[in-house]
C-alpha cells in the first residue's frame, strides 16, 4: 500500500491505496466524489476527465500515486455553492446534455479549453472535444454551450 496526499477541490485529502489504484477509483470510491464518471475505461470517452495541476486529464488513465502531491479539481469543485460555474450554466441554458453521463467530462474538458484558448472557433471547440464522446450524439448543443461560455 502507498499513502497519497493531494488537494481535491481545495481540500487536502490523503488515503491508503494500492499502487495499481486509478485516480478515478480513488476519487469515486475513497473520496466518494461520484460526479466523475467511468464510461469506456479505455481512455477514449472522456467521462472521467478531471483537472490535475490545471490541465484536463483522463482520470481512468492515471494512477492515484501519479497524482500524489497534485492539485485536483473534479466536477464537484466547479460551482460556487449554489452558483453554477459559467460553463455549467451554459450547458443548462443550451440543453447541452441528454442523458448527462458524459456531461461532467465534457464540462471539465471545455473549461480547460477556454483557459488555454478563451475565444475558440466552432472548429477548435469540436477538435478539442475529440476526447469526449456523447453517445446521445448531443454535440451540437454542447458546442453551442461552449460558445456561450466563451462569451460570458
Amino acid at each position: 500500500m502507498a499513502t497519497v496526499s493531494m488537494t481535491v477541490n481545495g481540500k487536502s485529502v490523503s488515503g491508503e491505496v494500492e499502487p495499481r489504484t486509478l485516480l478515478v477509483q480513488f476519487i469515486r470510491e475513497q473520496l466518494h466524489l461520484t460526479g466523475t464518471h467511468v464510461g469506456c475505461d479505455t481512455s477514449q470517452c472522456g467521462a472521467c476527465v478531471v483537472h490535475v495541476n490545471g490541465d484536463s486529464v483522463k482520470s481512468c488513465t492515471m494512477l492515484a500515486v501519479q497524482a500524489d502531491g497534485s492539485d485536483v479539481t473534479t466536477i464537484e469543485g466547479l460551482a460556487n455553492g449554489d452558483t453554477l460555474h459559467p460553463m455549467q450554466e451554459a450547458f443548462r441554458d443550451n440543453h447541452g446534455l441528454q442523458c448527462g453521463f458524459c456531461t461532467p467530462g465534457m464540462v471539465m474538458s471545455a473549461v480547460d479549453l477556454l483557459k488555454k484558448n478563451p475565444k475558440p472557433s466552432e472548429g477548435e471547440i469540436r477538435e478539442w472535444l475529440e476526447g469526449n464522446i456523447c453517445r446521445c450524439t448531443g454535440y451540437h448543443n454542447i458546442v453551442k454551450a461552449v460558445q456561450q461560455a466563451a462569451q460570458a
Binding site: P19, R20, Q44, S109
Partner: protein, 264 residues
C-alpha cells in the same frame, strides 16, 4: 491490473538503479499507453519506475540550430512551445494532433519514442529529421534506434533523457488519422535539412516507421508534390487491418507525402 511495486525516483540515476533492482521492471512515463496495457493485463511488470518526479527530464530548448526536448515533456507542451513553433513548426503541429487534448496533457515524447508504436507520430519526425535519442548511457541516432514493431535499440534499464532534432529548412507532417483513436493510419513526415532530404512513414509498416528512398531521390532534385506524384509504394510488408488494407495504405503514402510537400 495486476499488482506491482511503484517507485518514484528523483533522478535518472536513481531510476536506473530502481530498474536494476527490479525483477521485471518497466518505466512509467506519461502512462497513456502503459496504463491501458496494464489494465488489459497485457503486461505484468513486478515494478513500475515512475519518471514523473524527475525534473531533469522535462523542458524544451532551442539553440544553435537544434531543438532539444526532455523525455518527460508532454505533447501539449511541445505543441504550445513558441520556440518550437518558430524553429520547427512541423514538430509542434505534429504534437498538437496526437490523440486528444487529455492524452496530450499526459503523454510524453520519451514514452512515445521508447514504445515505438507502429502508428505513433513522433518516430516519423525522428527519422525524417535525423534526430538523436539521448539516453542514460549513450546517444543513439534515430537511424539506428527504431528496430522493429515496438522494438528499439534501448537496452534493459536504459532510459531516454532527451531527444534533439536538427532544425530543417523544410519540414511538414501530414497524417490520415483513424477517426476514433487519432493514431495514424498513414502519416508521412517530409524534411529537407541537415540530415538530407527524407521521407519517413508511420502507421503503415509491419516493422514500424520506415523511409521511402524513391521519394527522397525524386525530391532531392525537385522538392515539389509533382516530383513524387508517380512514385508508387509497394504494399508488401504494409499493415492490413479492419481500418485499411495494405493496398489502401500504400496509396495513402503517396497522397500524404504529396500533401506534406505541398504544405511547405
Amino acid at each position: 491490473m495486476y499488482e506491482f511495486e511503484h517507485h518514484k525516483p528523483a533522478s535518472v540515476a536513481d531510476a536506473a538503479s530502481a530498474m536494476k533492482g527490479a525483477d521485471d521492471g518497466k518505466l512509467l512515463a506519461g502512462g497513456q499507453t502503459m496504463i491501458p496495457t496494464l489494465k488489459q493485463r497485457l503486461a505484468s511488470p513486478s515494478d513500475l519506475v515512475d519518471l514523473g518526479g524527475i525534473a531533469e527530464l522535462k523542458g524544451i530548448s532551442v539553440s544553435g540550430g537544434t531543438v532539444t526536448i526532455g523525455a518527460m515533456t508532454n505533447h501539449a507542451a511541445v505543441a504550445a512551445s513558441a520556440d518550437i513553433k518558430s524553429a520547427l513548426p512541423a514538430l509542434a503541429e505534429l504534437a498538437d494532433h496526437i490523440g486528444d487534448a487529455q492524452v496530450r496533457n499526459r503523454g510524453t515524447i520519451g514514452g512515445s519514442v521508447a514504445n515505438n508504436d507502429p502508428a505513433a507520430d513522433y518516430p516519423a519526425a525522428c527519422l525524417a529529421l535525423g534526430a538523436t535519442i539521448h539516453t542514460s548511457q549513450r546517444d543513439i541516432a534515430a537511424d539506428d534506434f527504431f528496430t522493429g514493431l515496438f522494438e528499439t535499440a534501448l537496452e534493459e534499464d536504459e532510459i531516454i533523457t532527451k531527444i534533439s532534432f536538427p532544425v530543417a529548412n523544410k519540414a511538414a507532417y501530414v497524417k490520415f488519422p483513424n477517426p476514433a483513436s487519432r493514431y495514424a493510419l498513414v502519416g508521412v513526415f517530409v524534411a529537407d535539412g541537415p540530415a538530407g532530404t527524407r521521407v519517413a512513414v508511420t502507421g503503415a509498416g509491419q516493422d514500424g516507421v520506415f523511409r521511402v528512398p524513391e521519394m527522397e531521390s525524386a525530391l532531392s532534385g525537385n522538392f515539389s508534390a509533382d516530383a513524387i506524384a508517380n512514385v508508387k509504394v509497394s504494399a508488401d510488408n504494409l499493415n492490413a487491418d479492419i481500418h485499411a488494407s495494405a493496398d489502401y495504405r500504400a496509396h495513402l503514402i503517396t497522397v500524404m507525402a504529396k500533401r506534406a510537400v505541398a504544405k511547405i
